[in-house]
Amino acid sequence: MRCRRCRAPAVIEVRRHNAGFCSTCFLRHCAEQVRRAIEEHKMVAPGERVLVAVSGGKDSLALWDLLLDLGYQADGLYLGLGIGAYSDESGAYVRTFAESRQARLVEIDLPSRFGFGVPEGAAAARRVPCSACGLSKRHLFNQAALNGGYDVVATGHNLDDEAAVLLGNVLRWSTDYLGRQEPVLPEAAGFARKVKPLIRLGEREMAAYCVLRGIDYIVEECPMAEGNRHLGYKAALNLIEEASPGSKQAFYTGFLARGLPHFRPESEEDRGELKPCTTCGAPTPSGQCAFCRLVDSVAAVGESTPVPVPTRRRRARR
């Protein structure tokens, strides 16, 4: 296989583009896709400060790398989730990357700052771990951006992530969520702008980007995520993609162009009035925000109730 652009031997094929790329042209392709996403959706204006939510995984580290190379003022934010050795390893990858790029890294450690990790938070609040994790991330990323004077929070959600979320929302006809599945969530009182610059790149491309750039990242999957619905949706979409390359992109971009406008008004109507959280001041529809309720539920159960991190089991084909 040859590179579509320069005819050198290819190192990766991107079947939805019916193309192979050599290393140099593939890295350029990734940078072009991010630049196009940012421009097309007006994600970041010149001179704005970006806070990149980094997990130690391929997507967020690749995103940070790409934004730095594209000339953005991009600092990293790492949230320690208290998931045993997985968190230790993830944090190490983030610190190594930040040091190699001489980039500024902000760290928040959930256990030492709030007295619990994701396993304990999920058990105390009787949520699935991914729900407690997502809730904590959304709250703390936003607070860190506001406190640090950043204009925008950038996350490493890629095309596969967005297509999988879309599939889940469509299967349940979650019209409120469908109306909010935007690549950009604009800033509002108490909220920083949130953007997803990787929506034009697939998960496989992001892993390849890291391999080709020599970025070490945590390859093992989060032990708390095993068996979650989101991973099942990705596996289902990949079966379709294998048979019909380009399906995921057509599904997601078609939604943005032709589906989202139908759901957006309903979603906007559903948003009630927000008031400051009685504990932390963050905007919330109820008296206390969901994150502060999570903190309180852990405190009510007792701080000395560690929950073991599950061990990995063999999984079927995906």
């Binding site: 296989m1 290819a10 190192v11 990766i12 094929e13 079947r15 192979g20 290393s23 995984g57 391929k58 997507d59 699935v128 771990p129 991914c130 729900s131 994790c133 997502g134 809730l135 991330k137 959304r138 596969d160 992530d161 979320v165 889940g168 998960e203 496989r204 992001m206 892993a207 390849a208 391999v211 080709l212 390859v219 093992e220 999957e221 989060c222 708390m224 995520a225 979650n228 619905r229 989101h230 991973l231 990705k234 596996a235 990949n238 079966l239 993609e241 294998e242 990995r312 089991r313 063999r314 999984r315 084909r317 995906r318």
Partner: protein
């Protein structure tokens, strides 16, 4: 050839030579969900793998619902 697989981490022996696409079919893996790395280099689906190669099949799917 030695093939390293992840999640869970394990190593299997596969008789070569064979192409990357054939290896993935042999392992019953979806080519959209993995990268194939020979030594420290990515290889495309049509690359011919030799019996003496060290191969990593790296999953690319990640993430929770958050």
């Amino acid at each position: 050839m030695k093939v390293l697989l992840r999640n869970p981490r394990r190593e299997v022996d596969v008789v070569g030579p064979l192409r990357v696409g054939a290896l993935l079919r042999h392992l019953d893996l979806n080519r959209e969900s993995v990268l194939v790395i020979r030594g420290d280099t990515l290889v495309t689906e049509d690359a011919l793998l030799d019996d003496t190669d060290l191969i990593e099949v790296r999953p690319v799917i990640s993430g929770g619902a958050g």
